[in-house]
Amino acid sequence: MLHTRYARWHYRKLRILSATLAISGLSIMTSGIAVASQPVKHGSNHVKSSKSEPTASISVWFVSNPGPVNNYMTALANKFDSAHHGDHVSVKFIANTPFKQQLLTAMSANKPPTLFFSWGGGVLQQYIKAGDAAPIGTVSASWVHSFLPSSLGAVTFSKEVYGVPIQGTQPVFFYYNKQVFKKYHISSFPKTWSELLSDVAKFKKEGLASPIEMGNLSGWEGLMYLEYLTDRVGGPQVFEAIQSHQRNSWSNPAIKTALMDIQQLVRAGAFQSGFDAVDFGSETDALLYTGRSAMTLMGNWEVSSLLGEDKSFVTSNNLGQAVFPTVPGEKGNPANLEGNTADYLAMANHVSTAQKYVARLFLEDEFTTQQFAKTEVTSGQVPVIKGSAAYLKKANLHQYLVPTYNAVSSAPHFQYSWDQSLGSQLSAPLYLNLSKVFELSETPSQFIQAMNRAMTSVSGGL
């Protein structure tokens, strides 16, 4: 259940270590001394299985995950090797931030891995535009139909599919401590935004200092509030306009309403002291399971994260999961979801035809099957492969997995995380300005002005 945000948190320490190097890396990058990792070996020592089928060695770069994911990726590569004489798949696991930098370097040096991990969206689109990523198939390819339709949106560009899902879907929910709700006599999780505000006030009045916990150091946790509120107020088209870089699209009234709602929540004292100086992790989790906070808005990896922190809290069914409250009278559909639709493997363009052939074979053989769906469920994920519901019902933690799968299957719109959709150049000012909104040091109007300005300079080609 790991994805960009979770991994980002988990590898913050590694990221910190690499950061100092990264600064000097700028000068190394600029001097063009590209340190490409492991060039792909062409050809093979093995005997070809058939003359018509090309054989090749391919390399696959994953973003490293703690837990079982690394293991089953390696196992899949070995399985493919033994089933296809003459082919070889070598896998490499790299921590989140170094991965992004290494991939960038390898791409610009024209020595990319054959397949590389991707979150889709704007970042992948950058590689496609630069001619560095190749399509894996068209939307009508047979393997495409084995996935839930909403899961391929982030990797589909001009009717070509550029990525195959390799990890489960990660929608965002509210997670809450049932015992805290009981203690403060709140019978159920709030259904509407105004109920949420009144519940926060009630918690505060009764002496709970921080009803909602959040770790907004990097800025993505606060972004989930903006994503949901914008969708609830104005519907998906608000962000669609932003994503297509329409001039002044941040000025949509829905954005302003959403930002005002956020500041209302902050002014009510909903979040813990120092929420902007800590990242998602064991400290924020501890607030929830020790009962110092009542709830948190988080991707569904929160379940596995809490399982690692305080197993009994989850297994004794104290953890509740609820959809984001509705904003009555507004345009958005209350069943819409926000989050990361899936994690993917994408294919590099500057590799040999034989390697592309073997890479497609590897993806189709190993990642589109019911067998793979079973493997994902075993490791606590919610697969985006059709027909996974049957396995989920029998799984541990099915009380979280089944509602997640149902929510994803029935969501009219699954909004892919804005930061990933927009790409790096816009998500940096987005994090910065939104964190100022959360700290009440910037008004909604100032935010809108700053983001319109940032978008103009990105569209201007800077």
Binding site: L26, T30, S31
Partner: protein, 323 residues
């Protein structure tokens, strides 16, 4: 000119006889080659790792590049954006405040500690060892430890606030707009004062005691001795220490990155962090190069000014006339 007899002449005469006033050409030539060979590896490293990147960063600042795809020449657009970028202006301001305040805090404390451990008091070395401890720790380690201590919910200071009655310690140290930068400045001081203490200790030990003895015979107070003997004698130590502090603070990055990542908002976003964000978060390498060049130029200018206005470049003796 003088034939074989040249080699029998004493060096002073040789020098006088040589038309250019230096060693004979033959000898110079052979040294020159040896020097060149000896310097080659260092020069190559210096050219490839220092000079070339500087030149390329300058060139790259004229292009827009997201790290993939091709470079696109954009003239002075990045520079124009820099001069109209409120975030960069703010970062510059934060950087200057950080550098000046750090200097103002660290200099007197380092000096006082340096003089103390240069003295002859009992247990001096025990104290010295304690003062120097932060110098031995890695910055990232220090950052992570302080982050844990300063956490307002589970941190050590919050614990003291709740259990030892020290309620003023219950602060949002790193998450408050008014406190975060000052917290960082204090932590940087805590980390670097030991190093500057060492400098001042060495400086103080080299001041000849006869000066103080003579002054006290003439009836000079301790304060007068400090103003008229210690400070002038330590002039170059002060210049070295101040240059390191100011230029060091200009490029300071790691602990801020660990502790606040420039936050809350952009309260602690120094220019080096802004550069990192522009390069490796926003992937705008052209713009990041502008920031790198600006940072480099400011650093060089500050260092040159310090050297120029303190007479450090002339390297004259501070002890002329002292036996």
């Amino acid at each position: 000119m003088l034939g074989k007899s040249e080699y029998s002449l004493p060096p002073s005469i040789k020098k006088r006889n040589s038309r250019r006033g230096d060693l004979p050409k033959k000898v110079v030539g052979s040294y020159w080659k040896a020097d060149l060979v000896g310097l080659m590896p260092t020069m190559a490293l210096y050219v490839f790792l220092v000079l070339l990147p500087i030149v390329i960063a300058g060139l790259l600042s004229l292009y827009s590049w997201n790290g993939v795809g091709s470079l696109r020449f954009s003239g002075f657009a990045n520079w124009d954006a820099f001069f109209h970028d409120p975030i960069a202006a703010h970062s510059l301001e934060v950087t200057i405040v950080l550098a000046l305040v750090s200097w103002a805090i660290q200099t007197p404390i380092s000096m006082a500690l340096g003089f103390f451990i240069a003295g002859k008091q009992r247990y001096r070395t025990v104290y010295a060892a304690l003062y120097l401890l932060p110098l031995l720790l890695s910055t990232v380690g220090i950052g992570l430890v302080w982050q844990a201590l300063l956490d307002p919910n589970f941190g050590g200071l919050a614990w003291l606030a709740q259990n030892a009655g020290l309620s003023f310690l219950q602060q949002n140290w790193l998450g408050s707009n008014s406190l975060a930068l000052w917290t960082i400045i204090v932590l940087i001081a805590w980390q670097f004062i030991p190093f500057h203490t060492l400098l001042y200790q060495m400086g103080r030990r080299q001041v000849p005691n006869v000066l103080y003895e003579a002054a006290s015979i003439d009836g000079a107070t301790k304060w007068k001795q400090f103003v008229h003997i210690t400070l002038p004698q330590l002039r170059y130590t002060i210049v070295v220490s101040s240059t390191l502090m100011l230029v060091g603070s200009l490029t300071y990055f790691d602990m801020i990155y660990v502790l606040t990542d420039g936050g809350p908002g952009d309260t602690t976003r120094v220019l080096s962090l802004d550069m990192y964000q522009a390069a490796f978060v926003a992937n705008t390498f052209g713009y990041a190069s502008v920031l790198a060049v600006v940072l480099g130029v400011i650093g060089v200018v500050v260092a040159l000014l310090l050297v120029r206005f303190t007479g450090f470049s002339s390297l004259s003796s501070q002890r002329e006339g002292i036996a």
